[in-house]
C-alpha cells in the first residue's frame, strides 16, 4: 500500500481555535476540551494542535519539532542542523503513554538560529533561509520530518483522536495566547504522523476542514515558486499559498483572503471604483491561487489568527466572542463547552475572513 504523500489524500474534519487578544495565557487543556466534543467529526486517523506564545524563554529562536523514523535519520538530520544552525537547546518532546496512541516515531525539539556566515553566504532573507533548510531536510533526509519551524510557536500532532493526541503531548503543561486544533477524517488510510494536521511552515500553521476542488490548479501554480507539495494534501498547499502571499508577496491577511476566497465578479462589479480595481487586480494577478470547493480553515500566524470559509460556505464554521477571547470552531458546541456565556456568536459568510490579532 502507498504511503501518505504518494497518493492524493482527501479528508473531512473538525477544527477549533482560541485566541486571546490581550495575550492572556490559555492553557492547552482548554483547546483539547473544545475539539474533544466534536469526536464524531474525526475517525482516529489524525489529530493535532498548534500553540502560539508557548516558548517565551526561547522566543527569538526557531523551534523545530522533528519526527525521526530511526536513530540513523536523527544523526543525519542533526549533522545537517549543526552545519546550518546554532543549536541553542535540544531535547525530546515530553510525552505520556496513552493506550490509543501507538507506533510513535522519535520526537525531538530544537531551538535554533541560522549560523550568521551561512546566512550571509546564502544571500537569502533569514526566514527564506530557514524555510529552504526545512524543505531540504523533509525532501532529502529519509526518515526525518520537521513538522514545526516557527518562533515561539509549536505544532503537536499524531495519528489518533485529537483529545488523545493532546494528552499524549501533555498540552496541559503549555500555555499560549492562541491555540488551534484539528481532528481528521481521511477517506484514505494514513499510516504516518507527518500527515496529521496542523500543517506548518515557519510561523504559519493551517488547520482545514474540506476538500478543495482547485487542488491541482493551486498545486501546479505554487510549485512554480519553489514549493514542493510532497504530502498531496489540501492543507499543505493552502499553507504554501498563505506563505507565498503573506511572506513573499507581502499581502495583508485580509488581501490574501480576497485572493483565495475571492468575491464573485457580480459582487465586485457593484463596488466603488477603487475597491473594484483592487479586487480585480488581486483576482487577475493571483488567479491560480483561487481556492474552490468546500473548506473552512484557521490560519495561525505570529500575533494573529484568521478564519476563512469557501465562497459558497460549504463547510460549517462559527465564531464566538467573550471579552478579549475569540473562539472559532466547526460546531457551536465546541465553543459553548469551553465558554457557555458568550457576548456574541455568529456564522461568518462564505469568503468573509475573520481576523484577530494581539492588541497593540
Amino acid at each position: 500500500m502507498l504511503k501518505e504523500g504518494q497518493f492524493r489524500n482527501l479528508s473531512g474534519c473538525a477544527i477549533s481555535g482560541i485566541f486571546s487578544k490581550d495575550g492572556t495565557a490559555i492553557k492547552g487543556d482548554k483547546i483539547i476540551k473544545s475539539i474533544k466534543i466534536m469526536h464524531d467529526r474525526s475517525n482516529g486517523l489524525g489529530g493535532g494542535f498548534a500553540g502560539y506564545g508557548i516558548y517565551p524563554e526561547y522566543k527569538d529562536n526557531y523551534a523545530f519539532h522533528v519526527f525521526y523514523d530511526s536513530l540513523k535519520s536523527k544523526k543525519e538530520c542533526e549533522e545537517f542542523l549543526d552545519r546550518h544552525f546554532e543549536i541553542v537547546n535540544l531535547s525530546k518532546i515530553p510525552t505520556k503513554k496513552v493506550a490509543s496512541i501507538t507506533d510513535e516515531p522519535l520526537i525531538w525539539r530544537y531551538f535554533v538560529n541560522p549560523l550568521p556566515h551561512k546566512l550571509v553566504d546564502s544571500q537569502l532573507e533569514e526566514r527564506e533561509f530557514v524555510c529552504r533548510c526545512v524543505n531540504k531536510v523533509n525532501t532529502f533526509i529519509d526518515g526525518a520530518y520537521i513538522f514545526s519551524s516557527g518562533k515561539n510557536m509549536g505544532v503537536f500532532k499524531a495519528v489518533g483522536y485529537p483529545e488523545d493526541v493532546g494528552e499524549f503531548y501533555r498540552l496541559d503543561e503549555y500555555e499560549g495566547y492562541c491555540w488551534t486544533a484539528h481532528g481528521r477524517y481521511p477517506t484514505n488510510t494514513p499510516g504516518w504522523w507527518g500527515g496529521a494536521h496542523p500543517f506548518a511552515l515557519l510561523d504559519y500553521s493551517v488547520v482545514h476542514n474540506g476538500e478543495i476542488s482547485s487542488y491541482d490548479a493551486n498545486r501546479r501554480y505554487i510549485e512554480m515558486f519553489g514549493y514542493k507539495c510532497n504530502l498531496l494534501t489540501d492543507t499543505e498547499v493552502i499553507t504554501y499559498i498563505f506563505d507565498y502571499l503573506l511572506r513573499r508577496k507581502k499581502l495583508t491577511p485580509k488581501e490574501s483572503s480576497l485572493v483565495v476566497s475571492a468575491p464573485f465578479w457580480s459582487t465586485i462589479d457593484k463596488l466603488p471604483q477603487n475597491e473594484k480595481e483592487q479586487l480585480t487586480y488581486l483576482r487577475n494577478m493571483f488567479s491560480g491561487l483561487l481556492i474552490t470547493g468546500p473548506f473552512s480553515i484557521i490560519l495561525g500566524y505570529e500575533g494573529g489568527m484568521m478564519a476563512l470559509n469557501d465562497r459558497l460556505k460549504l463547510r460549517s464554521m462559527v465564531v464566538g466572542e467573550k471579552d478579549n477571547m475569540v473562539y472559532i470552531a466547526s460546531e457551536e458546541s465546541a465553543i459553548r463547552v469551553i465558554e457557555p456565556n458568550l457576548d456574541k456568536i455568529w456564522s461568518p459568510k462564505g469568503g468573509e475572513a475573520v481576523i484577530v490579532e494581539l492588541n497593540k
Binding site: 476538500e211 482547485s214 487542488y215 501554480y221 512554480m224 508577496k249 477603487n274 459558497l312
Partner: protein
C-alpha cells in the same frame, strides 16, 4: 485517352416522384451540378461537380434530394486506399501540388476523445450553476512579479494591458478575402454581444468593422496585408502570426479571383492580384528578431495592446514557446495540426505538425518548470469541437481557446472542404456577391451567439459537477482529467492519470 476520368465521390439522388422541376437546386448550386433536360422534362445532376455541401438538399422545397457516397469502388487494398489512388491520377493528369481545405480529416488519434472528466461525489458537493454563481470570466496577458503600493498602502495596478473575456472562447483568425464580408460581420457583431474577441486574420480590417474594435484582435502576418497604424490601434490586441496548424512552415496564397474591389482596398494590394504570404516573416529569422517585432508593435501602439504570437504545434513546441514567452509576448497561441484553413497543400496539411492536446500539455508543463507560466497566457486552437474539448483544454493548462471551424459550422458551413474553389454555396468562403448575400448577417450573428452561449452553459455544468465555481480553478487542474485507452508515454506527456487510478 480517357485516363483522367475519376468516378465522382458522391451521387446526387433525386426522387423524381417528388421533384416539381422548380429549378431551385439549379439556381442554388454554384458548382453547376443541376440542370434541366428539356428533352426528358426532368432535372439532371452532374455528380462529378458535386462537393457535397448540402445547399440543394436544404433548399429543395419538396425534400426530393439527398447526396450519398458512391459505392463505385476500387479493388480493396489496405495499403493503396482510394484517396491515394485518386491523388496519383489527379497529379499525373495536372502535374500540380494537391490542395485541400479545412482541417486534416484523417483517422489519427484524437486525444480529446480519450480524456474523461471528473465529478464530485459525497466528499465534496457538486455545484448547480442554475442556483449558484458560476464564473467563466478570463483575463489574458502577463502578470507582474512585484506588488507595488501607493502612499495609502493601496495596491497600484501595475499589470500591462490584457484582454478580458466573458467566456474562454474566441473566434480564430480567418481573413477577409478568404472569407466573406458577411462572415466577418457576423463574427464581429457576435463577439461584441458575447464579450469575447474575433480575429481579423491576415487580411486587414474593413472600415465598416472598426466600430467593433473592442472585440477585435488584429493580425500581422508575413505578407503584412492591410497593416497600417490605425489598423494596429483599432483592436484590443495584436497577433503576430508565425505559423498555422494546417500548414506549418509555409505561407498562404489567396487567388486573384478572391481579390475583389473591397478586399483589394482592405488588403492594400491591387485588385485581381494573387495575395501571397511568404513562409517566414522576412524580418524574423530568429527569436531575437521576433522580440524586435513585438516591441516595434508595442511602440507603435504606445504599450496599450497586448501582443499574441501564434505558432503551429510542431515537434519542438515547448522550447519554442519558452523562447516566445521570454521575448516579450503577452499571449502565446498554439495551433494544432488538425486546425482548419481556407486552402493548404494536402501533403502539408495531413503530415506536418502535432496534435494540440500533446503540444498544450507539454508547453504548459515546460513553462511551469521554468517558473514563467504566469508571465504569459496560453491560447490553443485546431481543433476544438465542443464545450467538452474546451473544458479539457483548460484543465490541461490553456487560458482560453480559439475556434474557427466550429464557428463556420454555426454559420452554415457543411465541411465540404472546397473553400479553395471560392464557390462556397453558403456565402462563407467566397467573394461572389450573389453567394455572399446568402449569409444573412443577423441570422448568422444570432447563431454564433447561440453556439457560444450554449457551450458556456455546458462548461458551467461540467465545472459545477467537479465542484468548481470559477474557471481559474479549472486552469491546469489536471487531476480532473483521466485518460482512457492511452499508453504510459501518452499519459506522461499529457500529465494525467489513467481512468481507475
Amino acid at each position: 485517352m480517357s485516363l483522367g476520368y475519376v468516378y465522382s465521390e458522391f451521387e446526387v439522388v433525386r426522387d423524381i416522384q417528388k421533384c416539381i422541376n422548380c429549378h431551385i437546386c439549379e439556381k442554388e448550386c454554384a458548382n453547376e451540378v443541376h440542370s434541366f433536360s428539356s428533352k426528358h422534362k426532368i432535372m439532371l445532376a452532374d455528380d462529378t461537380k458535386c462537393v457535397n455541401c448540402h445547399r440543394c438538399v436544404e433548399k429543395c422545397p419538396v425534400r426530393a434530394l439527398k447526396i450519398v457516397k458512391t459505392n463505385h469502388a476500387f479493388r480493396e487494398n489496405g495499403n493503396w486506399n482510394e484517396n491515394l489512388i485518386k491523388q496519383i491520377f489527379k497529379q499525373s493528369q495536372e502535374g500540380g501540388v494537391l490542395l485541400s481545405s479545412m482541417g486534416n480529416p484523417n483517422k489519427e488519434p484524437i486525444y480529446w476523445d480519450k480524456i474523461l472528466l471528473n465529478a464530485s461525489q459525497v466528499t465534496n458537493p457538486p455545484i448547480d450553476p442554475l442556483r449558484e454563481p458560476m464564473e467563466t470570466k478570463v483575463f489574458l496577458g502577463k502578470k507582474t512579479d512585484k506588488i507595488e503600493r501607493d502612499e495609502n498602502n493601496n495596491i497600484i495596478n501595475n499589470l500591462s494591458a490584457g484582454i478580458e473575456l466573458n467566456t474562454p472562447i474566441m473566434f480564430s483568425a480567418m481573413s477577409y478575402g478568404s472569407v466573406s464580408y458577411n462572415t466577418h460581420m457576423c463574427l464581429a457583431k457576435s463577439a461584441k454581444e458575447l464579450g469575447i474577441c474575433y480575429n481579423t486574420g491576415e487580411g486587414g480590417l474593413h472600415k465598416d468593422l472598426y466600430e467593433y474594435g473592442k472585440n477585435t484582435i488584429v493580425q500581422v502576418a508575413s505578407g503584412r496585408f492591410g497593416v497600417h497604424k490605425d489598423y494596429l490601434n483599432a483592436g484590443v490586441a495584436i497577433e503576430i502570426k508565425m505559423g498555422q496548424g494546417a500548414k506549418p512552415g509555409i505561407g498562404g496564397h489567396l487567388p486573384g479571383n478572391k481579390i475583389v474591389e473591397d478586399v483589394s482596398k482592405t488588403r492594400m494590394i491591387p485588385k485581381g492580384a494573387d495575395a501571397i504570404s511568404p513562409a517566414p516573416h522576412h524580418d524574423i529569422y530568429s527569436i531575437e528578431d521576433l522580440r524586435q517585432l513585438i516591441y516595434s508593435l508595442k511602440e507603435a501602439t504606445d504599450y496599450k495592446k497586448p501582443i499574441l504570437v501564434k505558432v503551429a504545434a510542431v515537434h519542438n513546441i515547448s522550447a519554442i514557446a519558452s523562447g516566445i514567452a521570454r521575448s516579450g509576448a503577452d499571449i502565446i497561441v498554439i495551433d494544432g495540426y488538425r486546425g482548419g484553413t481556407g486552402a493548404a497543400p494536402t501533403m502539408i496539411r495531413d503530415n506536418v505538425g502535432i496534435p494540440i492536446e500533446l503540444a498544450l500539455a507539454s508547453v504548459d508543463q515546460r513553462l511551469r518548470d521554468e517558473g514563467i507560466r504566469h508571465k504569459v497566457s496560453l491560447v490553443v486552437g485546431g481543433s476544438i469541437r465542443s464545450s467538452a474539448d474546451v473544458v479539457k483544454a483548460i484543465a490541461l493548462g490553456a487560458d482560453a481557446v480559439y475556434i474557427g471551424t466550429a464557428a463556420l459550422l454555426a454559420l452554415g458551413c457543411h465541411l465540404c472542404r472546397s473553400c479553395q474553389t471560392g464557390k462556397c454555396n453558403w456565402g462563407i468562403a467566397t467573394q461572389q456577391p450573389d453567394l455572399v448575400k446568402r449569409l444573412d448577417t443577423e441570422i448568422g450573428t444570432q447563431r454564433l451567439i447561440n453556439l457560444i452561449n450554449a457551450w458556456t452553459h455546458e462548461i458551467k455544468e461540467m465545472m459545477g459537477g467537479m465542484g468548481i465555481n470559477s474557471i481559474e480553478a479549472l486552469k491546469g487542474n489536471r487531476l480532473m482529467l483521466r485518460g482512457i485507452g492511452l499508453n504510459d508515454r501518452e499519459l506522461s506527456i499529457l500529465g494525467i492519470k489513467h481512468a481507475g487510478e
